[in-house]
Symmetry: C2
Subunit: 104 residues, 2 copies
Amino acid sequence: MFSALGEPGRLRIVELLRRRPHAVGEIVERLGMRQPQVSKHLKVLAQAGLVRVQPRARHRIYHLEATAFEEMRDWVDSFEELWETRLDSLGRYLVEQEEEEKEP
Amino acid sequence: MFSALGEPGRLRIVELLRRRPHAVGEIVERLGMRQPQVSKHLKVLAQAGLVRVQPRARHRIYHLEATAFEEMRDWVDSFEELWETRLDSLGRYLVEQEEEEKEP
DNA sequence: TCGATATATTCCTTGACAGGAATATGATGA
DNA sequence: TCATCATATTCCTGTCAAGGAATATATCGA
């Protein structure tokens, strides 16, 4: 997931899809990218579980996949406890180090 | 930030630092990676703003940088509104498409 | 100051991946 | 069925980044 979002073009696509679902051609127009690259990027995003496709006549409508973003949110949220006590954490570690040096 | 986390080795380092700050040598030991690669990865993570370093005697203690993760959290959170109404969003779009086809 | 330890940097090689151009696939409407 | 539109795939090439080995830098203790 992170490596998929790490590519600037793909992040732009995600930011676009965030507003509403888009067909491939719309993405091409809006972002000024070439159609094959857009398709390739969408493939990567789909494999990462970040987008899903919905066929609609001859168009293929891509939209964000909620599950993936919920997963990301959970991951990031699990860090929250850390910076609430971040100074304590570093401080505690340093003290531990000092102790070890005193009595090896 | 995303591309920094997109590298598996670096993600492992972040997961390790999440427990508590670590010196470079400790990371090398714990993760079984080679020291130069760890230093390089830490450099990338630092440039992405994800970690900071704290010199301590001859050791360099790396720890996660809270700001970066708060930023990530804000970004992910800003998507939350979307899947609350995700079906509505897709449905609304499809209806719009139908309308356009009827009266071009 | 010197030796030792901890970490960072450089150089090199290799593999992965993004972009471009051309083409293939697939679905639709006449 | 055929022509066409929308999208996907392939092939090629260049670039960039990761890993390995060797070395440089820095900091401390004696």
